[in-house]
């Protein structure tokens, strides 16, 4: 199947091989070959850094079109919690949700409602008190994949509760099946996403056998239509929405705030997340209860498929969720029923991925490391990226792995032979 499905793909026509994405990639997953960037599939965590940094818009996200709604008799839209930060404060979100409905949906289920439920479940889990500290949030799929790849010793710290997106999908499907007398196959669940990593999670989930989300639509793609639809509304509808705390999950620190925690560390930006995970691995944060690491600046409001400036969106969401707000639980009965059946917790072990390993025979691997070090010494140490690898050491690794040649280095100053 799609062993290495990734939502982040490269448009070769737009790429001119500028090296911006390669230097920015936090897992060194990009190389330039024949003046075009290429992604090493098994290293990509879909964090979207390359999309944000590409000046030529050559990095794209594979999402679905609204045509896909035709595959189902009844369609549900789950707008991401970040939707609440995309419009001015005075905007009536009911009208926005109605605008979303007019895209062709039959039912809207706010991700915020699921965020409330997930908050409640995580609270219960924390009370059980047998989890390794700090507990690591499972919200950001890019961070979960980063841990699989680079911090496998911390996999046990990840809280085994599903993301609000998945919980929303389950709750919404269950609800409409009952309410409208439908069969599961007739119902399509579509997530309106700010996030490429979540797109990947619906096709190739981590910790789950399969996703309940049938399609993913980029917020950016439909934003204009939603705004236009909103203008044509004559009779207003009302929608259920998550509590301010649940909707607050859209910004970094929002989860921890909703959980009512004090002793937490919340970090945004993938490079910062890496630095803190390193500290956690060294045992320096063992006295912290909860770690909320999000790949995007500001949290999910910084996801590359949003429209609004992340800082503005973050501030809106903060204002919304600040203060002495209490958690509200809509659909609690269905949710608790599902929770008890194990439907809202991760059902598959999150496995480590050892893509760094040079050879399964440690003796061979040792020889290869020596070889890498030798080649690295011959390289100028400029980390200029002209060779198509993100830095000199990475080129040395590529050479030993047989993916590149020393001639790729345009300097080779120290190479006498």
């Amino acid at each position: 199947m799609d062993k290495y499905f990734h939502s982040v793909v490269l448009d070769k026509n737009n790429c001119n091989g500028c090296t911006n994405c390669m230097r920015r990639c936090p897992t060194e997953a990009i190389r330039i070959r024949d003046k075009k960037a290429m992604i090493i599939e098994e290293r990509c965590i879909d964090c979207g850094e390359c999309i944000k940094v590409c000046p030529y818009h050559a990095q794209n996200v594979l999402t679905d079109d609204l045509d896909k709604l035709n595959h189902f008799k009844f369609n549900i839209a789950i707008p991401s919690v970040t939707m609440h930060g995309q419009f001015t404060q005075s905007t009536n979100m009911n009208r926005i949700f109605q605008g979303i409905k007019k895209l062709g949906f039959d039912y809207i289920y706010d991700e915020g409602i699921a965020a409330d439920i997930v908050t409640y479940i995580i609270k219960e889990k924390i009370k059980e008190n047998d989890l390794p500290k700090p507990i690591i949030s499972s919200l950001c799929p890019a961070v979960v994949r980063l841990i699989q790849l680079n911090f496998p010793s911390l996999l046990d710290n990840i809280i085994k509760v599903e993301s609000p997106m998945e919980v929303a999908a389950r709750l919404a499907k269950e609800k409409v099946i009952k309410e409208y007398n439908l069969s599961p196959k007739e119902v399509g669940v579509f997530y309106l996403t700010p996030c490429p990593a979540k797109v990947t999670s619906t096709v190739r989930p981590v910790g789950l056998k399969h996703s309940y989300v049938d399609g993913v639509i980029s917020i950016k793609k439909v934003y204009g239509d939603i705004v236009r639809n909103e203008k044509t509304i004559t009779t207003e509808e009302e929608f259920e929405m998550g509590s301010p705390l649940g909707r607050g999950w859209a910004r970094v620190g929002g989860q921890s705030h909703a959980l009512g925690l004090n002793n937490y560390v919340a970090v945004d930006g993938i490079e910062n997340v890496i630095k803190v995970l390193e500290e956690i691995e060294l045992g320096k944060l063992d006295n912290i209860d909860y770690f909320e690491g999000l790949a995007c600046f500001g949290g999910c409001v910084g996801g590359p498929l949003n429209v609004e400036n992340p800082f503005i969106a973050k501030s809106r969401v903060r204002k919304l969720s600040e203060g002495d707000k209490a958690l509200e639980l809509k659909d609690k009965d269905i949710a608790m029923d599902m929770y008890k059946k194990g439907v809202l917790t991760l059902t598959k072990k999150i496995e480590p991925k050892s893509v760094m390993k040079l050879d399964s025979d440690i003796k061979k691997a040792m020889n290869m490391v020596e070889e890498i070090k030798k080649i690295n010494k011959k390289l100028p140490g400029l980390d200029c990226g002209s060779c198509g690898a993100p830095n000199c050491y990475a080129l040395a690794e590529d050479i030993v792995n047989g993916f590149a040649k020393i001639e790729n280095c345009i300097f080779r100053l120290n190479d006498e032979k």
Binding site: P152, E281, K357, I362, K364, M366, M368, V369
Partner: protein, 147 residues
């Protein structure tokens, strides 16, 4: 000393008081152990032990060296510094005991857990110190011991 595939040596100099570079040795060792395909739990133990040893050289000593030897069976770490040595080794091994200055504590170090943590991570641990001369820590961590 060219093709000796049964062991691999890594050597690092650690300067006194150099906090900007402190941690470099342990993160470099970590990277190499990953390339060798060593189990992540073992890598974590080696990283913690070398990181704490590195910090102790930087904070408490006049400078020193970390010498690592990796074989298919184990990782051996020898940490040596040029003094001043530890007066009371038993006391130094106590959890929470630290002579770190206020300034060092403000930087987030000096919890007095370094040596106890090294011992916890090590399968073999020896600490020898002579006042006026220096300190030597010998650490061995097996690669295939079930945790």
């Amino acid at each position: 000393m060219t093709k000796d595939s049964n062991s691999m040596k890594l050597n690092y100099d650690v300067d006194s008081n150099d906090f900007t570079r402190a941690g470099e040795a342990s993160s470099n060792i970590k990277k190499i152990l990953k390339q060798l395909g060593v189990a992540s739990k073992v890598i974590r133990k080696v990283s913690i032990a070398t990181y704490e040893a590195e910090m102790n050289i930087a904070i408490h000593s006049y400078g020193g060296k970390i010498n690592v030897e990796i074989t298919p069976k184990e990782v051996q770490i020898v940490v040596k510094d040029n003094g001043p040595g530890i007066k009371d080794v038993n006391l130094a091994m106590k959890e929470g005991y630290s002579t770190a200055t206020e300034r060092i504590r403000e930087l987030g170090f000096g919890a007095g857990m370094g040596l106890p943590n090294i011992k916890r991570c090590a399968d073999v641990f020896e600490l020898k110190s002579e006042e006026g001369k220096g300190t030597k820590v010998f650490i061995k961590i097996f690669l295939n011991k079930n945790t």
